[in-house]
Symmetry: C2
Subunit: 92 residues, 2 copies
DNA sequence: GATATTTTACTGTTATAACAGTACCAAGGT
DNA sequence: ACCTTGGTACTGTTATAACAGTAAAATATC
């Protein structure tokens, strides 16, 4: 939500990286048009495409919700955990 | 990135909400096919479409990067702030 | 095990995202 | 003034996301 925020973040990070729109586009493996559109606030880009741009700028995405903690717990449980070094309660 | 994570989060939250794929689709204002695709891990959905689904499930998106703090600071500065309750140093 | 509900997996159609190409419009530097 | 560079803003084309519809699995509910 609030895609203008993402647009500004992309522009900010690109500027800090000293990249032009075209350079970022090539780095991310997308067309220059998309970079321009994203910075303009266009929210109709493919999620994959947006991710490529964010990744090129070292920007990560994190989901947050009231239930998120529960969700993460569940993920821990269903993986047998290859980490056998300490056998105990994961100290979150 | 790691769209399977998002897929699982959506499924988890939908389940917790007691919604069917179709109900969520209607709630989010998207087609049932998209909900299925997202939960299957399809990363080619439009960002806007994904956001609608996340929003319906009360899942927020946060960007994170080493530069993010700097970015937020800059946002604070350039907004004149309509909040006049405490007379801060706004006089420039 | 029969019935209902939900999910998965196809379709064909329509709208449109992504793209390269082009051109124009700043700013900055010479 | 000129030239360069980066951004903006259009094009036309192609690939495809989104959609409702349908049907078949899977999963509950009785």
């Amino acid at each position: 939500m609030d895609f203008s925020r993402i647009a500004e973040a992309v522009r900010f990070h690109r500027g800090r990286s000293g990249l032009t729109q075209l350079e970022l586009a090539n780095l991310a493996g997308v067309g220059k048009t998309v970079v321009f559109d994203v910075e303009k606030g266009k929210d109709t880009v493919r999620f994959r495409t947006l991710c490529r741009i964010l990744q090129a700028l070292n920007i990560g995405i994190r989901l947050e919700s009231p239930l998120m903690a529960r969700f993460e717990e569940e993920l821990d449980e269903e993986s047998p955990s290859l980490d056998v070094r300490h056998s105990g309660r994961r100290t979150h």
